[in-house]
Point group: C2
Chain length 186, copies 2
DNA sequence: AATAAACTGGGACACCCGTACCACTTCTGG
DNA sequence: CCAGAAGTGGTACGGGTGTCCCAGTTTATT
């Protein structure tokens, strides 16, 4: 039988190929949104035959889910790195730097998680990770409601900036007053 | 030439048919998400032949855009009605009542607006409308940063509840402390 | 060295898509 | 009343999709 690993290939080359497909999927997701992540496009981007995608991933949904998970982890790492260097006030500047399309892809999948239980836990991972970053930056326990609440405004400001392309200085101003309010409550 | 109205048909029946197609599109959007809104599905749902969709709408994008606009207006009206009756504290209860799929459809299109300039102004209309509702409930001018900021946390809590299906009492608790904080700042 | 398993890649299947076409009927303004 | 515009609906086209199949090749195990 033509076996299907679907998880971790036993051979080295297979593992590399699988990873390659995954990053290709992430790239396509950021470029064209989630409709652009098709088997054929992914395979072509990775320089592999079409069948490789169905061989290493049982379905398009699984491929999308893993791409989402990878995207979440890398974005989380990026943001964490940024805040430990520049603090929460510097987040507005990261907004200016960040790859807008990448963020769009992430949010697309985030919302899509509402209709796909398999993605839901990844969505929660994203939210929890972001709250954690805010809490750490504030030297608060991860469960502190103040961190949670501050994150909610950061999140919306971020999303609005990405989607509606609101002027950066408005976002920055709102962010700083939100930070001031949070410190008053501390 | 077989003309194409694309905006407002001159005949009564045509106007009814167009509206019918639009609500069919909104329904499909809420049920199956954005990918479910196809010409064929919309036509079938409305009980009209396939060609009716291309006759009354120049493209699928236009159909989607108008469906989005309609969805935004009705949701805005619903929320406004709710808050004038129950105040902002009652929003958590509306969350329990609200049609989850409908909200998912709205957010799908909202994020999609990030890649489609035609949708972007509708997305802004959504945000501005929500901020306006919050400001009115607080008896603040629509431009008051406090209303704007309070809306940001409401928005994220709402979205998280819809997408991640977080427990309602957590959302409710966070919402009430957010409202308290806002009143302290007033 | 041989047997089984993993992997490869080309092709095919069945389906759904947006849109265009066009003969036809109904309506409406002059 | 009647030309021309508006509306109607069946059909077709070209293309992209996810998934499956299978003969062949490489790798790992006995």
């Amino acid at each position: 039988m033509t076996g299907n690993p679907q998880d971790t290939p036993t051979q080295e080359r297979g593992r590399r190929r699988r990873a390659h497909l995954l990053t290709a999927a992430v790239d396509l997701l950021t470029e064209g949104g989630f409709a652009a992540v098709t088997h054929r496009a992914v395979a072509q981007r990775a320089g592999l035959p079409l069948a490789a995608t169905t061989y290493y991933f049982t379905s398009r949904d699984q491929l999308l889910a893993e791409a989402f998970a990878q995207l979440v982890e890398t974005e989380l790492a990026t943001t964490r790195h940024w805040t430990t260097r520049h603090g929460l006030t510097g987040l507005a500047d990261q907004l200016a730097t960040a790859d807008r399309n990448r963020q769009l892809g992430l949010w697309e999948l985030y919302v899509h998680a509402g209709r796909d239980p398999a993605l839901q836990q990844i969505a929660r991972r994203w939210t929890d990770g972001c709250v954690r970053i805010v809490a750490d930056a504030l030297d608060l326990p991860a469960t502190d409601p103040r961190a949670r609440l501050l994150y909610t405004t950061i999140s919306t400001l971020w999303l609005e900036h990405i989607v509606e392309q609101r002027p950066l200085h408005d976002t920055r101003a709102l962010l700083t007053t939100a930070l001031e309010n949070a410190s008053h409550l501390a």
